[in-house]
């Protein structure tokens, strides 16, 4: 190359041709550049949609997100009452928090400028401090790209055609791989624990399952639920209704996971080996328990762990109460209850079967011999249909019907069975009817979506060929000359909502229909039978609408008597509430008796 490289000197000068061109400079701040529709700026949180699960705070590796209580957020079932607050002295704008938000309430916006001389101003509660940013939401919690897994691992079940042939269990249960996968979906927020009547440690045991430690999971479950296998199969699982994942997807299958864990320990000895609860020294207090239903069993189990001398009196020949007699075996096999009761007996619970209190032993005797009494008598009597002809031969309550079937008796169902009601019990009756070979129609006053029964049960019933007739109010049972059921008359109803309340079914004139049938099963509710109580005690016991009044400790107006289960005015009528009653009564009895010393 020569010293005077003419080309190399002249060519760069050619760049002068750019002169006079309009510059591409953005005159910020006078002129603003368009921020893209996916920009990750400051956060915005829709305070109403947020449920305070704290998943954003957990995923944040910079510990930038705190969960704080806000004055305007009350919290309640399915809402922790806390909301995220972001520290922009930590945030790296990665938007992982947005992608893990189960409700999609947390998003990022096009706002990104914050300039100040005060370093303490970088704390922002999205949604509260920047409500105007709602319009500028850009990086959204996309359902498709979310890091949450919204689809449940499907449960394998028997084919509907197979099901109606026998009382074999319909749900086949998760296998290990499925259970791990399902447990992995849980975000461990713990919102569910509040909805559970007994406040089981749900996130903990699901985490243990996810980590492959089934034994630990079982141990955690037995901490405050002694009938987990029953719950694993027939719980009303209010926990799943408030699951954080359920907001935009299918709730974590908490019940099935519990079922999976309990099935891994398939006999009482194994349960004992795994759970190995701490048993306190006997403290010589005696507790008498009336009724070996879920409430009575639970109280018995936890009281004996605490060193009490517990005796349970049960009128039937088998333990379990309504769980044993009221739930068909295709949902809850006999072994499930027996296994758990065996375990409890091993832990020191004494159960006297075939002992009806008030007949075989007087209540007064139990009352006098014990330091505390727990009443878990349940609701034994069913309400009648209350219509013309309901005394006919062939009209029976679902409780009697299911009880007979479960204790091995035969019931002649004929060709056509009509079941009345919309709860789980009436669905059970319908499905049992199908298994006994009858055609089944089910009448319900309201719409199918109003049915209190579990959706899985309703679907299962339909799959098995139960014919649901919604908005149908029975008006008359038609008898033949011998007084036997011949048919049932019902009117169609329309749903009318008044004053914003739940819509009420109103009969449509002239829509009477008659169905021929051989048997009618009514499942429209039950009531308690307190005839076992001596008069002076019954008088002192405060009741409300046929149910015993208790305080938080499940203590009745007579301080020595505690009560729980379906017979108590405390929440819903289901197994888990009964277990909760038994558990909290234990704590109450413990508190009362230990205070004495």
């Amino acid at each position: 190359m020569s010293i005077l490289d003419l080309k190399g000197l002249l060519v760069p000068i050619g760049a002068l041709k750019q002169m006079g061109k309009h510059p591409h400079t953005i005159n910020f701040p006078d002129e603003e550049k368009n921020i893209s529709d996916r920009y990750r700026g400051f956060h915005h949180n829709s305070l109403e949609d947020c449920i305070g699960c704290g998943n954003c705070s957990t995923i944040c590796m910079n510990e930038a997100i705190d969960m704080v209580a806000l004055a305007e957020i009350e919290g309640g079932k399915g809402d922790s009452g806390l909301r995220p607050r972001v520290d922009y002295g930590r945030c790296c704008y990665c938007a992982l928090c947005v992608d893990v938000c189960p409700t999609g309430s947390l998003n990022m916006t096009k706002d990104f400028i914050q300039v100040t001389n005060n370093p303490y101003e970088f704390l922002l509660t999205p949604g509260k401090d920047n409500p105007e940013a709602k319009e500028k939401v850009s990086f959204k919690a996309d359902l498709e790209a979310s890091l949450n897994i919204f689809d449940r691992v499907p449960m394998r079940e028997l084919d509907p055609g197979e099901r109606v042939k026998s009382f074999a269990e319909v749900l086949l249960g998760y296998n290990e791989e499925e259970a791990r996968r399902e447990a992995n979906r849980c975000i461990s927020c713990g919102l569910c624990t509040e909805a559970c009547p007994v406040h089981m440690h749900i996130p903990e045991y699901i985490n243990a399952i996810a980590q492959g430690k089934d034994d630990e999971a079982l141990k955690i479950i037995y901490d405050n639920n002694d009938l987990p296998e029953v719950c694993g199969k027939v719980c009303t699982r209010r926990c799943e209704d408030v699951c954080a994942i359920q907001v935009r997807g299918e709730a974590v299958a908490i019940r099935w996971l519990k079922g999976y864990v309990t099935e891994t320990a398939d006999n009482a000895d194994l349960i004992k080996q795994i759970v190995t609860p701490e048993i306190r020294e006997p403290n010589h207090y005696k507790v008498g328990i009336v009724g070996a239903g879920p409430a009575g069993l639970t109280a018995g189990y936890y009281l004996s762990l605490r060193g009490y001398d517990v005796t349970i009196y049960e009128s039937h020949k088998d333990p379990g109460g309504m769980v044993m007699y009221g739930i068909p075996k295709y949902r809850l096999p006999y072994d499930s209850i027996q296994k758990q009761v065996d375990y409890m007996v091993k832990m020191g619970v004494k159960i006297h079967y075939n002992t009806r209190v008030g007949k075989d032993i007087s209540f007064q005797e139990i009352y006098d011999n014990s330091d505390a009494v727990f009443l878990g008598v349940g609701l034994q009597d069913a309400w009648n249909l209350g219509i013309e002809g309901d005394d006919a031969d062939g009209v029976m309550s679902a409780i009697d019907f299911l009880g007979k079937i479960n204790s091995g008796e035969t019931v002649e169902v004929g060709k056509k069975l009509i079941s009345v009601g919309g709860g789980n019990v009436s669905i059970d009756a319908s499905r049992v009817g199908r298994r006994l070979g009858a055609e089944v129609d089910q009448l319900y006053r309201r719409r199918i979506k109003d049915m209190p029964a579990d959706w899985e049960e309703i679907e299962g019933a339909e799959d098995e060929g139960v014919h649901l007739i919604p908005q149908a109010i029975p008006t008359r049972v038609i008898k033949d000359k011998k007084g036997k059921v011949k048919g049932i008359e019902y009117v169609k109803a329309e749903m009318i909502s008044e004053g914003g309340g739940r819509p009420r079914p109103v009969p449509i004139e002239g829509s009477e229909t008659i169905i021929d049938c051989d048997i009618i099963i009514a499942a429209i509710g039950q009531k308690a039978d307190y005839s076992l109580l001596p008069e002076d005690i019954a008088d002192k016991l405060k009741m409300e609408r046929g149910k015993i009044l208790v305080n938080d400790n499940r203590q009745t107006s007579i301080s020595k008597i505690f009560a729980g289960g379906d017979a108590v005015k405390y929440g819903n009528v289901d197994a888990i509430s009964a277990i909760a009653d038994g558990y909290y009564a234990t704590l109450g009895i413990d508190k009362m008796l230990m205070k004495k010393e």
């Binding site: 701040p29 910079n62 510990e63 002295g89 400028i113 001389n117 370093p119």
Partner: protein, 212 residues
């Protein structure tokens, strides 16, 4: 919200007090004089200062990657009289563009102390405010104002050119009001700063006197 939940949670006042204890804040440089004539002079001086900001070309962390974008043709920060300076003696602004490792902190303190008054510090991004994503790192400092007085903080990780420009504009406003430039304050609180600095910088081999 129920009372049960508030047990053990500090109140707003307690938090405020903790913040005040945490760092003495050098805000107003106090160059505003009572005399009318002096006010006029200050106004002119501040006006001149704010329109020629020489930035020391010392990018200490990842935030420096947006400085070229800010300085070059698309965002063109020279519109504001901002341009680079090669040495600390000529520079007005020290940019702390993100995290500062302890090794760099030592150099930065030397650089800051070599700069002539009035001098300004701009802190970029999360890392300078509360440690950012390196909050649990053993080698980066977390709160810059414990070690150097800071005039303007810019949020972001890292701040976009728009944020950077906004930060400079904010600094210009502060300069005009006479509320920026904490060199004097730093000198007054030198003992406090030194104590913090020496806690992090183990081998303290700085010249004895400050004005070097």
């Amino acid at each position: 919200m129920s009372e049960k939940n508030t047990i053990g949670i500090p109140t707003v006042e307690e938090i405020k007090q903790a913040q005040i204890d945490f760092s003495p804040r050098c805000t107003a440089a106090g160059r505003v004089n009572d005399k009318e004539t002096q006010k006029m002079v200050d106004y002119i001086l501040n006006f001149a200062r704010k329109h020629s900001l020489f930035v020391l070309a010392y990018g200490t962390g990842c935030g420096a990657i947006e400085i070229p974008a800010t300085m070059t043709s698309r965002y063109d920060a020279e519109r504001f009289g901002i341009r680079g300076a090669a040495t600390p003696r000529q520079a007005d602004i020290l940019m702390i563009t993100g995290y500062l490792s302890t090794k760099t902190l030592k150099r930065v303190i030397r650089v800051y102390e070599q700069m002539q008054d009035p001098k300004y510090v701009i802190a970029f991004g999360s890392c300078t405010i509360n440690g950012g994503m390196y909050f649990d790192s053993y080698n980066t400092i977390k709160a810059l104002d414990r070690y150097l007085p800071v005039d303007v903080y810019i949020a972001g990780c890292m701040p976009r050119p728009e944020s950077v420009i906004r930060g400079f504009v904010k600094l210009q406003e502060l300069i005009q009001k006479g509320n920026a430039g904490n060199g004097e304050c730093y000198r007054e609180n030198l003992d406090w700063y030194r104590e913090n600095q020496q806690k992090v910088i183990k081998n303290w081999d700085f010249p004895e006197n400050y004005n070097w």
